[in-house]
């Protein structure tokens, strides 16, 4: 048989210790599965969605309430997107806590970080496409934040939403960003990321001489585990999509009233909390960007993990990275929780 991309990602055997669920948490594979569901359900939604300010929210209502299985398809799209962010965050934490980002995987770590940012932007633009009364204030504050960037802020704002008032005009731009401008880079970088996993030697493991567990896992066993995980995530998605509908609100006609939703989508609540503290450029742009820079620099300027530690949980040699990333994660969680305190 001629080897395919599937065979590239599934070599005949891989080290058994690192293929265990308790090592990978199955996060990367689950993310791929969720992206496939997002692609399929997203295309199905495109058959009915109308990217026009007057008709968008109504077309979402058509999908949700009239089209057979439309509500279910939309719920699947919604829940896959939310789970994708959670799974990506878990994947990032796993990679840092097992020192898996170390050379030669440094570049692939950056690709992964890029994918995470794209997923967040896709989630935000997708949420805006509802175009109902509850999206206007988060859209307004989110895009006005771009304007606070010195010198190039207004340029970013125009590129993102096309100028004017975001709640009146941004829809077509954000639709195009969502469907093509962000999705195509996500697919390209996603395939590159998966290709590089294998190119860099598969799931991170210590070099052969330093491995304590020499057992190997055959390809069919790996596929069996992947399919099992796919079933578990699939059932979870079906349950969520059956019993917990994706948010929807009345169509936005003109400016929404001040009592419309003012909370940011859940993954930006931490930024919204910081924005209450002062200068929007510092708290809404510089600090989130600074966190990204710190994450991106971990493989390059933090102490290099020992070879024998690569691919083991919480090794001593990358303690600093573990501490820094734990602090960042805790701060983000704390800030998010703070928004629930009245």
């Amino acid at each position: 048989m001629r080897p395919s991309f599937f065979h590239h990602l599934h070599p005949p055997t891989i080290p058994a210790a690192q293929a265990r669920w308790r090592h990978t948490l199955s996060a990367g594979g689950t993310a791929v599965f969720l992206m496939l569901i997002l692609g399929v359900t997203g295309v199905l939604e495109m058959f009915y969605y109308i990217p026009n300010p007057e008709e968008a929210a109504l077309s979402v209502q058509t999908i949700t309430y009239h089209v057979p299985f439309g509500g279910f398809i939309r719920n699947l799209h919604y829940w896959s997107a939310q789970l994708l962010l959670i799974v990506s965050a878990i994947h990032l934490l796993r990679v840092v806590f097992t020192a898996a980002y170390a050379s030669p995987r440094r570049f692939n770590y950056l690709l992964g970080l890029g994918l995470f940012i794209l997923a967040i932007m896709l989630d935000f633009t997708g949420y805006i496409l509802r175009w109902d009364v509850d999206i206007c204030w988060p859209l307004t504050t989110g895009t006005n934040l771009l304007k606070t960037i010195p010198f190039i802020g207004n340029f970013f704002f125009r590129i993102a939403v096309g100028g004017g008032e975001a709640c009146e005009t941004a829809l077509l731009r954000l639709y195009t960003w969502h469907i093509f401008g962000l999705t195509i880079p996500l697919v390209i970088i996603g395939i590159w990321h998966a290709f590089r996993v294998r190119r860099d030697g598969g799931i991170a493991v210590p070099p052969p001489a330093l491995r304590s567990d020499k057992a190997r896992l055959p390809r069919n066993e790996l596929v069996r585990r992947e399919v099992l995980m796919l079933f578990i995530v699939g059932i979870l998605l079906i349950l969520l999509s059956t019993f917990v509908p994706a948010p929807i609100a009345p169509a936005m006609i003109g400016k929404p009233s001040p009592d419309a939703e003012t909370r940011a989508p859940w993954f930006f609540l931490w930024v919204q909390q910081m924005l209450k503290w002062g200068d929007p450029f510092i708290f809404g742009v510089l600090i989130p960007f600074g966190i990204l820079v710190i994450l991106a620099l971990i493989p390059y300027i933090f102490p290099k993990p020992a070879d024998s530690d690569i691919g083991t949980w919480f090794p001593k040699s990358n303690r600093l990275a573990q501490i820094v990333v734990s602090i960042i994660a805790l701060i983000v969680i704390m800030l998010t929780l703070m928004t629930f305190i009245p």
Binding site: W137, N144, L145, R158, G164, E168, P258, D279
Partner: protein, 138 residues
């Protein structure tokens, strides 16, 4: 003068050509995306006859988000768009509060509690010959 072999010259020319053409293409793409296709947002709002706003009244307007005062000295208006990130303010007992990030302004539009740092904009109001109240956002 250093000798430049034909191979090196071609390499240099190729690299230069690729860099310059990519730069031009990127610049063109940015200019393409930078265009504002939408008409500028409305800045002039006719609120109707002055009789709707009796002396001593203050009226919260929905579009544009503003509050219109009619006092002895005439009509005046205060923008109710938060100066922080643009949400519409809610009127409270002692002024105006932003539902997005909790900025607070007193009844005259001065900041009493951040994160907003600038006071609310005073809007220009005009009375036309037909006694209509016009509010200007600029």
């Amino acid at each position: 003068m250093t000798d430049l072999s034909r191979r090196d010259f071609l390499k240099l020319a190729r690299a230069g050509f690729l860099w310059i053409s990519s730069g031009l293409a990127l610049g063109g793409l940015f200019r393409f995306l930078d265009y504002e296709p939408n008409p500028a947002p409305k800045t002039e709002f006719d609120l109707g006859p002055t009789g709707q706003f009796p002396l001593g009244s203050h009226t919260v307007l929905f579009d544009p988000p503003a509050i219109l005062f009619h006092t002895k000295s005439g009509f005046s208006a205060l923008s109710l768009t938060c100066t922080h990130l643009g949400c519409t303010l809610e009127q409270t007992a002692d002024g105006f509060t932003c539902p997005c990030h909790a900025s607070h302004f007193d009844a005259d539009g001065n900041v009493t509690h951040g994160p907003a740092s600038q006071s609310l904009r005073k809007l220009q109001v005009q009375i036309t010959a037909e006694n209509h109240v016009i509010v200007y956002l600029d």
